[in-house]
C-alpha cells in the first residue's frame, strides 16, 4: 500500500462532507428565498373584537356580512379610498406619540399612505420613515397597531416583561363615543397562528405569517405594498367570498369579518388583469411559555387609559384586542 495524498484527500473530504447533518439541507429548503426581482413588504393580521358576533359564509361577503351586528355596515367594496375622515384621523392620530412611541420619531411624523373605508369602519396605514402603523377605527373602538418599526407603549413601563420583549406593536382599544375616554380590553388572547407559505406572488408579497384570532368576532386584515403599476387588487377568500382592497400608490389594505384566508388576488395593471394564487396556510407551533401574549395586557398609567399590548414576533404569537360589547 502506498500513500497517495490526493487519494487520501478525496477520502477525507468525502468523509467530512458526509458528516453534515441530514436535516441541514431540509432546513434550507423550508426557507423562503423570495425568487423575484422586487421585494415588497406586507402584513397579515387577524384581530378579534369580542362582544360582537361575526360569521361568514360562502358567497359575496357584502351580502352575507353586512347585516352582522359585529361589523354592521361593512362592505366588501371600499366605500371610499381617499384621505381619512377627520373623525377617524382624529381618533387614530391622537395615539401616535403618546400611547405609541417609536424611538427616534415623533407623533407628528406619521402620514397616512392608504385609507380604507367600509361603511362606518376606517382602516388607515401610516408611515413614518421605515416604520408603519395601522389604525382601525370603528363606531365604538379604535385599534392602533404599530406593527413595524420599534414601537413601544409609552407609559407602559409597569407592564409584564414578556410583553415588552415583543413590543413591536401596540393595540389600543377604546370604548364609548369619541372623546369619552378609553377602557382597557377585557382580555387578550393568544392563539395558534397559521403561516402563509409561498405567498410571494409577482405583484403582491405576503411573506409574514398570518395571525388568526380566537373569539367570535374575528376580523382579518391584510395590508402592505404592491407593485407600483397595480391599480386594483381584489382578494378571493378561502370561503369563496370576494373582497376588493383599497389599492394605489404602491399600497393596499383590505379587511373582512371572520378568519377566512385570502386564497388569491386578482391584480389589475396597465397590461390587464390576472390572478395570482396564494399558497396554502399551514399551522405553526403554539408559542412557548415566555412568548405568549396572553394574560393581562399592559395598561396605561391612569385608570381608563389606553391599553397597550406588546406583539410577539410575527411567527410566534398574535394578539387580539377585545372591545367592549
Amino acid at each position: 500500500m502506498t500513500f497517495d495524498l490526493e487519494s487520501e484527500l478525496r477520502q477525507t473530504l468525502a468523509a467530512r462532507a458526509a458528516a453534515v447533518p441530514a436535516d441541514t439541507a431540509m432546513r434550507l429548503q423550508t426557507i423562503d428565498f423570495n425568487p423575484r426581482t422586487t421585494r415588497l413588504s406586507t402584513r397579515w393580521r387577524v384581530g378579534s373584537l369580542a362582544g360582537v358576533a361575526a360569521g361568514m359564509g360562502a358567497g359575496l361577503s357584502i351580502a352575507l356580512i353586512g347585516g352582522q351586528p359585529a361589523f354592521a355596515g361593512w362592505t366588501s367594496v371600499p366605500t371610499t379610498a381617499s384621505a381619512p375622515t377627520s373623525t377617524a384621523a382624529g381618533h387614530c392620530e391622537k395615539h401616535f406619540g403618546s400611547d405609541i412611541a417609536i424611538p427616534g420619531t415623533t407623533g407628528d411624523g406619521w402620514s397616512p399612505v392608504v385609507t380604507d373605508v367600509r361603511g362606518p369602519f376606517t382602516f388607515i396605514v401610516y408611515q413614518q420613515g421605515t416604520a408603519t402603523a395601522t389604525c382601525f377605527d370603528g363606531p365604538t373602538w379604535t385599534v392602533v397597531d404599530a406593527a413595524s418599526g420599534n414601537a413601544i407603549g409609552a407609559g407602559s413601563a409597569g407592564g409584564k416583561p414578556q410583553i415588552e420583549q415583543h413590543s413591536q406593536s401596540a393595540s389600543v382599544s377604546k370604548a364609548g363615543a369619541p372623546g369619552a375616554g378609553y377602557t382597557a380590553p377585557p382580555s387578550v388572547e393568544t392563539i395558534e397562528p397559521p403561516i402563509l407559505l409561498g405567498a410571494d406572488i409577482e405583484n403582491v408579497t405576503v411573506s409574514r405569517p398570518s395571525l388568526a384570532a380566537a373569539g367570535n368576532a374575528d376580523y382579518t386584515v391584510v395590508d402592505g405594498q404592491i407593485a407600483p403599476d397595480v391599480s386594483a387588487l381584489t382578494l378571493q377568500l378561502s370561503d369563496g367570498s370576494v373582497v376588493q382592497a383599497t389599492a394605489g400608490a404602491g399600497w393596499f389594505v383590505a379587511w373582512w369579518p371572520g378568519s377566512a384566508n385570502a386564497a388569491s388576488a386578482q391584480v389589475t395593471t396597465p397590461a390587464g388583469q390576472h390572478v395570482e394564487q396564494f399558497d396554502q396556510w399551514l399551522p405553526v407551533p403554539v408559542p412557548g411559555v415566555g412568548l405568549s401574549c396572553s394574560g393581562s395586557p399592559i395598561t396605561g398609567g391612569t385608570a381608563g387609559a389606553p391599553t397597550v399590548l406588546g406583539q410577539a414576533t410575527a411567527s410566534a404569537c398574535s394578539k387580539s384586542a377585545r372591545a367592549p360589547g
Binding site: 502506498t2 468523509a15 439541507a25 429548503q29 423570495n34 423575484r36 409577482e202
Partner: protein, 197 residues
C-alpha cells in the same frame, strides 16, 4: 393565474431541493464550520433567488450557485476573520465530532486526523482550490472558472496547499512508523506525482 410567476417560484423551489444538500456539504468543506456553512448557503441561495429569472435559463444553474458559494467564501473577509478566530479557539463541538468521525473511518487515524486539522488550517482560497479539485472533481480549468482566476493560479494555489498538508503530515507519520503509517512515510518522502504541476 400568473403562470410565469408561479412557474418561476416552483422552479426555484425545485432547484433548492435539488442542490441544497450538495451546496451545504461543499460549503462545510469550504468553511470547515457547520453554522457558517449553513449561513453561507442561505446567502448563496438568496443571491440566486434574486437573479433567478436569469439563472433559470442557464445551462448549469447549480454551477452558478457553486461559483457564488465559493466567491462568498473567498471574498468574504468577515467570514475569513471569523473562521480564523474559531480556528485559534479550537474547533467547536460539531467540528470536533465530525473530525473524530472522519478519523475513525481512516486507516491511519493519527495521520488522517492531522490531515483534517491541516485542511481546516488552510487559507480559504487554498482550501477552496482543493475542495473544488478533490471533492467536486472539477478540472483545473473548471476550478479556475469557479474561483475567477487563471489556471496557473489554481495550480499554484493547490500546489502550495498540498505542500502545506505534507508538511503538517510529516511529523505525524514519521513519528508513527509501525502499521500503516510506515508506508505513508515512504510515500510521503518519495512521491512527487501528487504535486500539481
Amino acid at each position: 393565474v400568473n403562470a410565469k410567476g408561479d412557474t418561476g417560484r416552483y422552479e426555484f423551489e425545485r432547484f433548492v431541493a435539488d442542490t441544497s444538500d450538495r451546496l451545504v456539504r461543499t460549503a462545510y468543506l469550504l468553511t470547515w464550520d457547520m453554522p457558517a456553512a449553513e449561513d453561507l448557503v442561505q446567502d448563496c441561495l438568496s443571491k440566486v433567488a434574486r437573479r433567478w429569472p436569469k439563472v433559470r435559463v442557464m445551462e448549469h444553474p447549480a454551477a452558478y450557485a457553486r461559483r457564488i458559494l465559493v466567491n462568498l467564501v473567498v471574498d468574504g473577509a468577515k467570514r475569513r476573520s471569523r473562521h480564523q478566530a474559531e480556528l485559534q479557539q479550537g474547533a467547536g463541538p460539531t467540528v470536533e465530532r465530525a473530525d473524530e468521525g472522519v478519523a475513525r473511518e481512516m486507516s491511519s487515524v493519527e495521520a488522517r486526523f492531522v490531515l483534517v486539522r491541516a485542511l481546516g488550517a488552510l487559507a480559504p482560497r487554498q482550501r477552496a482550490a482543493l475542495v473544488l479539485r478533490y471533492f467536486e472533481d472539477l478540472t483545473e480549468v473548471e476550478t479556475a472558472e469557479v474561483m475567477g482566476c487563471s489556471v496557473g493560479t489554481v495550480k499554484s494555489t493547490a500546489s502550495r496547499a498540498l505542500e502545506h498538508l505534507r508538511a503538517e503530515l510529516a511529523p505525524t507519520v514519521s513519528d508513527s512508523p509501525p502499521r500503516d503509517t510506515a508506508p505513508l512515510v515512504t510515500q510521503h518522502g518519495t512521491t512527487q506525482r501528487s504535486e500539481p504541476t
